[in-house]
Amino acid sequence: MKKYITHNPEETKQIAAALAHNFQGGEVLGLTGNLGAGKTNFVQGLAKCLDIKKQVNSPTFVLIKLYPTKNKKIKLLVHIDCYRLNQPEELLSFGIEEYLNDKRCLTVIEWADKIEKILPEKTIWIKFKLGKNIEEREIEIK
């Protein structure tokens, strides 16, 4: 387990980018933490590392946003947001299992604790906490 303290959104993005650097494809990241804890920010960092030019913004409304990449191993960043979900099974109707099992995808899920029971063993859990001041965040990677 690793723990980080970031002091601004840019540092949160950098931690994401450093982590993504070692990814081979097929990883599933489960992000947890309250509103405003830096989850979307973290995903923006992943996207930057994968050289995605399209603006990555909140998927709360459509639940899933897909970003194709030009990366050799990871061909697709799958950004899921469970904020509005009630039952984990509801996501299955979107066919998320296909992404979770695809070696060409990097799947990152906000509010992942809501769908814990349908996520695979391999899920890397990343916990976000509000810090001592408005800019500071605690990030815990399991």
Binding site: N34, L35, V62, L63, R84, N86, E89
Partner: protein
């Protein structure tokens, strides 16, 4: 010409019949089954619930829209039998228009498959419409039965809703360029999440709008994210976080009473309106549009409407300002039918539509 519009991109199931005669249009019917009551329980929208509800609703909504629109199709509403034979003389719908995206895939599919089925069975050409294009044209619906071709280009559209916050430059009919968008949360989403933080319920927009009227917007100085950035992009995530910290702090001090909540609502709303207005004015200065259009669910917000109208009127008196009627701010099918009308000239009616190949596009761009 009559167009049947169908819209099921998120939580609404909607159908409308729009008649166009000699460049004048007449909205014959506009039926929306608001599902807000069902979703309110969950503090949001539940996709499976939304889609399942839409499957149950869509035929009823279609029937009602066609009946109110005094349209001859379906031929026998009493028996609820859609005429299957092609070239049926009882059909007076010329086109079917349906939302292709963006939206929730499960919801979009309900409308699209229904539209495809009707198009196939009745041999009526099908037009796919981008939901955002619909919001752009929704302001024209308010003009009523006047000539709608009065949209003067270039036009600038600000689309504000639960899923979108963007500024679109329209140089001519059908040519859209996104000149600014949100880098994180949509403004409607920020309203919903701020309402959640304040434990006010769902949807947050109308609740905050109402409480803000009784609050003092100068009580809390909330940030205006990116207001001074040299582009036309938006950010609302930081504002949401600021509300979160403020509420936590006030809770600790036991100062979060009803009036304080109203003051937070007013201050939050004011921050949003301030950013949206400032960016709109810079866009107008830069691109010198002849028309300004507001659209999307958040355009129902009174303070936003008044502020935008006043400021634009004062600084750029020559611009024509189009604000949608409140009833057309949310998702509806009339705007989809109208957006489709502008495409009809390009569609060869005798050729079968290539609808077999088209499917829902939840992340489609404008």
């Amino acid at each position: 010409m009559k167009i049947l519009g169908i819209e099921t991109s998120c939580d609404e199931t909607a159908a409308a019949v729009l008649e166009i005669k000699n460049s004048y249009f007449n909205l014959l019917s506009n039926v929306i089954s608001s599902q807000i009551k069902i979703h309110a329980k969950y503090g949001g929208i539940v996709p499976e619930v939304a889609a399942r509800k839409q499957i149950e609703m869509i035929i009823l909504i279609l029937e009602q829209a066609l009946k109110q629109g005094n349209s001859k199709f379906p031929a026998s509403p009493a028996g609820r039998q859609f005429p299957i034979s092609k070239n049926n003389k009882n059909i007076d719908i010329d086109y079917i228009a349906v939302t292709q995206g963006p939206g929730l895939i499960t919801s979009l599919t309900v409308g699209i498959e229904t539209a495809k089925t009707l198009s196939f069975a009745l041999n009526i050409p099908l037009i796919f419409v981008n939901h955002l294009e619909g919001h752009i044209y929704s302001a024209l619906l308010s003009i009523g039965n006047k000539n709608f071709c009065s949209l003067r280009f270039p036009a600038l559209a600000l689309i504000v809703s639960g899923g979108h916050t963007m500024m679109v430059l329209i140089k001519k009919q059908g040519k859209y360029k996104i000149i600014g968008e949100t880098l994180d949360d949509a403004v409607g989403e920020a309203f919903d999440k701020a309402a959640k933080i304040l434990e006010l319920g769902f949807p947050g927009g109308p609740i905050i709008d109402k409480l803000a009227k009784e609050g003092d917007k100068t009580k809390f100085n909330l940030p205006r994210p990116m207001i001074k950035s040299n582009d036309l992009n938006f950010s609302f995530s930081g504002l949401k976080t600021a509300v979160l910290y403020l509420v936590q702090d006030l809770k600790k001090k036991k100062e979060l009473d009803n009036q304080t909540i109203k003051n937070i609502c007013a201050s939050f709303e004011n921050a949003c309106v301030d950013v949206l207005t400032t960016k709109t004015l810079s866009a107008i200065k830069k691109f010198k549009p002849k028309t300004f259009i507001l659209g999307g669910g958040v355009s129902a917000n009174q303070s936003l409407r008044e502020n935008l109208f006043q400021k634009i009127k004062t600084e750029f008196p020559k611009i024509k300002i189009l604000l949608p009627d409140i009833k057309f701010t949310g998702d509806n099918a009339a705007m989809i039918a109208l957006a489709a009308y502008y495409r009809t000239s390009k569609i060869n009616k005798t050729k079968a539509s290539a609808y077999q190949k088209i499917k829902a596009e939840p992340n489609i761009k404008l």
